[in-house]
């Protein structure tokens, strides 16, 4: 049994061509297959054919992007991260394909009922109610329509990648949109007199 390859050996062998490259690809393929199969098996999420398809796509991507490996981790960890990303992307698309943005972002008209749990004191309930009212006012006043859509879709559980697809955008842009929205709300809460401690005390 050969010793595990170091990072430089992986890169060298995967670029070598011929039987050396073929052997490295076979080794990497085996490793990605075993890692992904076990992690997805643990979640009961998917089948072997799906894993094999993803690993094939990952190998193509990895071979095309070897120059992007910066050596900040083991090569195999970097490669596995790529395979995981491709797998998750495919699963998200399948899981959310029939869910529209509108189904998650339709606003409630008027004030929603705010039910605290049984352990909440009347004073804390009042604090929560006031805080949520302020938050709703800030959402109305401070957020753009796009921010409202992205934020409520995210709160509804839709992955950023799927929100981006529906908005004709990309995940980085959607993340920045959401970050800006959260910053506006945080600033708005502070301006309304809420400290972080106030908020944590209302929602411990």
């Amino acid at each position: 049994m050969r010793a595990p390859r170091e990072n430089a050996s992986w890169i060298r062998d995967l670029r070598a061509g011929g039987p050396v490259q073929a052997e490295a690809i076979t080794d990497l393929r085996g490793l990605l297959l075993r890692g992904l199969a076990k992690s997805f098996q643990a979640r009961g999420a998917t089948d072997q054919a799906f894993v094999e398809d993803v690993v094939q796509q990952a190998l193509v991507h990895i071979l095309d992007h070897l120059d992007q490996f910066q050596g900040r981790s083991r090569f195999t960890t970097w490669a596995m991260a790529i395979a995981v990303r491709l797998a998750m992307s495919a699963l998200r698309r399948k899981r959310w394909q029939d869910v529209s943005l509108e189904s998650l972002t339709t606003p409630i008209e008027g004030a929603p009922a705010w039910d605290s749990d049984d352990t909440t004191s009347p004073a804390q309930h009042a604090e929560q109610h006031a805080l949520v009212e302020t938050l709703n006012r800030l959402v109305d006043e401070a957020l753009t329509e796009k921010q409202w859509l992205a934020l409520t879709a995210e709160l509804g559980g839709m992955p950023l990648e799927e929100i981006a697809r529906r908005m004709g955008s990309n995940v980085n842009a959607v993340y920045k949109l959401l970050h800006d929205a959260r910053q506006r709300l945080k600033h708005g809460l502070a301006t309304a007199g809420y400290t972080a401690e106030d908020v944590r005390s209302a929602f411990p």
Binding site: L31, R34, G35, L36, K38, S39, F40, A42, R43, Q70, R72, S73, T77, W78, M80, A81, V84, R85, A87, M88, R92, P107, I108, E109, G110, A111, P112, A113, W114, D115, L131, V132, L135, N136, V139, D140, W148, L151, T152, E154, L155, G156, P159, L160, E161, V171, N172, Y175, K176, L178, H179, R182, Q183, L185, K186, L189, A196, V199, R200, F203
Partner: protein
């Protein structure tokens, strides 16, 4: 427009954890492999990696990928004995 109560509660937690500077998903992905290795080996976090941790607190997509990656690497490590 009004948020549903469960949305408001989740949003409050996210707003509280918001930082002035946060990395994007691509920046997080670039550091995710190193971050998982640090987590698995218990090595001290470098200056850059707390930003990954903060991003994972806000981004479900990247957090999911982190957990799957961590599970895959753990499974391979157990296999190697």
């Amino acid at each position: 427009m009004a948020l549903r109560p469960e949305q408001a509660k989740a949003l409050i937690a996210k707003v509280l954890d918001t930082r002035a500077q946060e990395m994007t998903c691509d920046e997080c992905v670039a550091d995710l492999a190193a971050f998982v290795e640090v987590q698995l080996t218990g090595k001290p976090l470098s200056a850059a990696l707390p930003a990954v941790h903060a991003h994972l607190e806000q981004c479900h997509d990247c957090a999911d990928e982190y957990h799957i990656l961590r599970q895959a690497l753990t499974a391979l490590a157990e296999e190697e004995g």
